[in-house]
Symmetry: C2
Subunit: 372 residues, 2 copies
Amino acid sequence: MTQTQHNLQSVQAETPEGTAPAGPTTGPLTAEELQLSARNHSMPLEAMRRDVTPPGLHYVLTHFDIPDIDATSWHLLIGGAVERSLELSMAALHKDPAITVPVTLECAGNGRSLLSPRPISQPWVLEAVGTAYWTGVPLAYLLGKAGVLPSAREVVFTGADAGIQGGVRQRYARSLPIREAMRADVVLAYSMNGHELPPQHGYPLRLVVPGWYGMTSVKWLESIEVVTAPFTGFQQHVAYRYQDSADDAGTPVSRIRVRSLMVPPGIPDFLTRNRTLAAGPVLLQGRAWSGEGAVTGVEIGIDGAWLPAQLEKPLGGFAWRKWTLPWVAEPGEHVLSCRATDATGATQPLEQNWNYQGMANNMVQQVRVTVA
Amino acid sequence: MTQTQHNLQSVQAETPEGTAPAGPTTGPLTAEELQLSARNHSMPLEAMRRDVTPPGLHYVLTHFDIPDIDATSWHLLIGGAVERSLELSMAALHKDPAITVPVTLECAGNGRSLLSPRPISQPWVLEAVGTAYWTGVPLAYLLGKAGVLPSAREVVFTGADAGIQGGVRQRYARSLPIREAMRADVVLAYSMNGHELPPQHGYPLRLVVPGWYGMTSVKWLESIEVVTAPFTGFQQHVAYRYQDSADDAGTPVSRIRVRSLMVPPGIPDFLTRNRTLAAGPVLLQGRAWSGEGAVTGVEIGIDGAWLPAQLEKPLGGFAWRKWTLPWVAEPGEHVLSCRATDATGATQPLEQNWNYQGMANNMVQQVRVTVA
């Protein structure tokens, strides 16, 4: 047998830096997508049995490499359109008042691999989500310390992670409008679920913006700059946009669309993940969330007939809400679904809502079960 | 646009339970492989900068679902060919003498997706590996308490994780020969890197067998049975074997073959992961390990010319060993490789050593870098 890293190599050789990636495809998964899938990880659906998702179960997307930061020499810089620039050590940040917020984070590209044609990027299936308690200093408090000038429009957050995307050499950076940055629940977090941030979640400090897709919550945060004009960095202006086509300037992705997922009942087949379940009563359960308003209802589809699930007490803020539905499983093949609605009246679509980058696919999940 | 979960559904519908999975293929990645890749996760290569791999960076393979175990009611059963059966609570196990061992675990299927033809299973690329300090009770101590009868041949370990594989309904179970089970460094671990086991690593108790591929280290351990005949469970007798073809009974996979990986230098392109590096001095680094003997050398290939790397002090036991090599990067395109040798004289192959299940692929890694 001969050397067969050729699959990956040939793709790499054919994609010179500086060119846009290939557009959406109906073709099979590429070696590049597989590489991304191996690097990044999603949340096994059974993790939704827990209110809180521990590291390793919570989804992670890293655009570039995970930086290896020495927290003892690290400083956060706050500058731009402020009365006084600040340079803060971790020790200084730990002396500031802290808040803890429960937050469901979801990748804006979640569900991308199920779209047709399929945009070429991280090929999430269903599970790029997770919920954690994030502890740290309210961003508004630090902006108050620095003194935001009246000319300020946005706040730009830059991480330590560097790389190339779409031909542009960059450090990962995103902005927030001032009104969002001043929300009481936006936190510069140094702790996840009561423990020091893991490396892959932004150690030693990250932004967490409840209600917005995960790209907003910049990890490995190094600088905060208040700016007087809209930020035009790659991750704001090119990536993370709702586009109809490559030529469409599009609109920015921001808040998380209403969505729900089910813990697949029964036991799985290793390869197919098809579920097998004993006939009789079973408690279906899952979680629902929205960044646009409280979850007000979840319906469970059983072979196409919809029944209202019971909603449990919310965890608070923009964290997911548990739902349950008792079901008496009868022998045969069944298709189970869940569909959430939020306070704005938005409901998950039954069919895909396609866009060029594969953003915010909140199409209803389907779980096939064999009851024997 | 129409509902497009059809990719996954069609594959599922065409693979009835109880049939063997498709054989190796030269075709594109299937939706089933992508689903597995989304569920399981590997170690981003930059995590090799650390001696120890934290949860979320350490690889995880789960055959079925991650069980949700209440440790307060959980018990470990020890029985079979022993003088006295034992039923032990977590509280009881914590009173027993504990050891801590540094262990590099690697999935036996690591590198599978690079094989041609490609066996259909979890499509690992390069990174299904990780190193942790595992703390718990020596297995030999508990076997001593139970009193192994002279007729004993193997010890069977059964986890709480249940599912279907290859048409066989099962709880995950593997055996070890008595002589391996009695090794001083084989541990029933309740702690990983000084913290309670995370759910995905086997909470509340798992087996850790240093030097063997990861399938041996049964997670969510519920029972230990000493047996007087070779164990013929699915994961021993069907899965995890070196086979030439479907009809070949094959030989069992056991110890980890010598292998090394490099932290890719420079910065990545998001999609291709191609590396870009500034000209000048750079310290190449990575890790090397073997379950068959100590790592005795690592050579670094730079455009096909091999240079010896410097080996750092071992962490001990069967944990990986850090290597470094200073390199002066000259402008242009380069291919970097690393190739380890162990005390048995085994060296990583430059070409694939194919087998039917895609086991133990320790072919040399290649990293393409552009120096500008």
